[in-house]
Homo-oligomer: 209 residues x 4
DNA sequence: AATGAATGAGCATTCATTCAT
DNA sequence: TATGAATGAATGCTCATTCAT
């Protein structure tokens, strides 16, 4: 479950400063990548929007792809952070699952652009980076797997064990769909949409409504 | 619901020749875009792979984006073609839905790369083109909407009418997920995977298993 | 004696045009490299001085190093061409050697800058190219070796066979010295200088003056 | 004939410290320049290899070219130092010349890389520096001139006076050739090579073998 | 004196598109 | 219609040098 945090090269020694500057960079880059895509965004634009000079940018990062990786990692961290809270709530497995699904969908709504960004641009990542990004996505799937098992054990969920993995994948897909297909989903009210998605997974998990 | 087929500019008069050459272009470009992505593919490469000269390419197309559009349109046509057959089969709404879902998932498996391509690269499309591409995708959603209504009418599906649209979207999302998340789904056997996905939607549609 | 001519990559199909344009490029580059050195010369400058656009330059060449290689090869060809004539003259080995040495020194005077260029910049060549450039230089050494053997055979030169190679090297070095050390040799009159150098080698070759 | 030692700018007052630090710098730079050439070596690399910070480097030197100059001067000093000893030996002019030539060739073998460095990179020196570097090289030539005159006077060398300068140049060139053309000379054994070179000059100087 | 982060002009190279033939 | 050479703006990245601390 723990991933070796990949180290991005930097010329700068003070780690706190590196953290800070990279935050600026990521902040600027997310915006730009969302607007124009990775390939149509220039490093010059990123530097400017970060408040850094062209050269300074490359003190904190070695390639443009590094920036994309930092962006993807940041987004996944954000998703996991927002999800973390709801996992500490009390309740049976089914109840916790419902909560988690709902939270996840909310996060997907809030972070539509960022999720889309990852799907659209991760192809541009060098393989090493891509592997880590996918691993981080799997961590979210892992959360749902754990909740499903919990529910199966406490009897609140009826599901053959060999369906757990696949359904956890579906749960994530169902949520991400909100981001992917937003242009088609704008017609629906938020609460209805979320309820439907959550319900869809719960039914498949054999939770009585 | 029908969209006027957008006209792509060409210098060439004979429409049959245009059709033919564009077929060559699309054929070459699909392959290249899948392998390297839209931005990393050069028009030179496309020309070469199409058996055209640099200049000739631009007789049949005005910009690189035109090619991407032709590619997306071609893929959607292919999807609809492959789906069309199963719609003429007899049976109640639920039965036809099951068939359609299954076929759709099969198509998604067969055309993984192409589906992924559309999602990853359509951002590069000029707005006018993007609109048409999305409209074509909606046509597939429309197919599932129609089947759901059919089932509701003949009593084989229990679903409040206001859920129809959303569920049709889910059906498409469920299928496309197979393409998007294939790296996570490689572990599962094809038949199991498809059955699960189809079942998921049918349950949500209130079809008794 | 024949070297596999290394092929430099080009986008252009017509070989005659390639030859022509590369001639322009080499012509411009020699001048610039002599003036400012390889590293201080920009490809833009070379393009401009060749009468080509930035882009066109790269239709005939793949990297800046390619240009340096073309330049070195051109210079060596020129040297060999100028030397070739005097080799067909009649006379005993010693006489032909004297002629060749004199011609070679003349060429070194005429091509001072170019010779210096090769020595100063060949370090920047990729290994494959460097090998070929050195091989071409060895061809000149080979000419002197052949003449020495000729003289030994016809009795006009007294030299143990195991000194032939080393002396051929010296002959070339003695000539190239005129290029390398011209700043120190400006003081001497051309004819005296050349005579001295030729004499030096002939003596070492055991030719009675 | 003596040149005012050029003053390189520095921010630092204590001359002993300047001497010390510059020694570090030169030591690091020689190595790097030999390996990668002047232009491909960055000041950052030099600073790091010297154990100095980026900023500190520029306290002891004003430009990158200053470093190259210091390096060249250092090398020449080293050459002269190594040569100095053999000049104090007793013997007639011819004998001393033979000794000096041999020592010089030995130094050239030992300092191949450094000699090559000077020839390849001195073009990058600002004119003022270049003049001094050439002047230092002439000092070595001067040594051989002096020895030749000594031999002429004591009768051990037969040479018209107007050939002295030119032959002294040749002596240096002959030695340096060992460095320049080492790729071609690897085939020969050291002692043979040196003996040949020394003999070549002695013959030209009219010293009976 | 020393540090090391910041600057920004500069460079090799690419590539969509045009156009003379 | 077709060819393929030409264009030139744009881009990712480097690095000598400066300067606040």
């Amino acid at each position: 479950m723990t991933t070796l945090a990949l180290q991005i090269g930097t010329q700068v020694k003070d780690p706190e400063r590196v953290r800070l500057r990279r935050e600026q960079i990521v902040h600027a880059a997310v915006e730009l990548f969302i607007q124009k895509g990775f390939h149509r965004t220039t490093t010059r634009e990123i530097a400017k929007a970060s408040g850094l000079s062209n050269g300074a940018l490359y003190e904190y990062v070695e390639t443009k792809e590094d920036i994309l990786f930092l962006v993807c990692r940041h987004i996944h961290q954000e998703v996991r952070n927002r999800l973390a809270d709801c996992l500490r709530l009390p309740g049976c497995g089914a109840e916790k699952l419902r909560q988690a699904l709902y939270s996840f969908c909310e996060v997907m709504v809030a972070m539509q652009d960022e999720i889309l960004l990852i799907y659209q641009e991760s192809k541009a990542l060098p393989k090493v980076y891509l592997r880590e990004v996918l691993a981080e996505e799997q961590m979210v799937v892992g959360i749902f797997e754990k909740l499903l098992y919990e529910g199966i054990e406490d009897g609140s969920i009826q599901l053959p064990a060999d369906r757990v993995s696949i359904l956890a994948q579906d749960a994530v897909a169902m949520g991400e769909m909100i981001a992917f297909r937003r242009w088609a989903l704008r017609a629906f009210e938020g609460p209805t949409l979320l309820a439907t998605q959550v319900d869809l997974i719960l039914r498949a998990a054999g939770v009585s409504p």
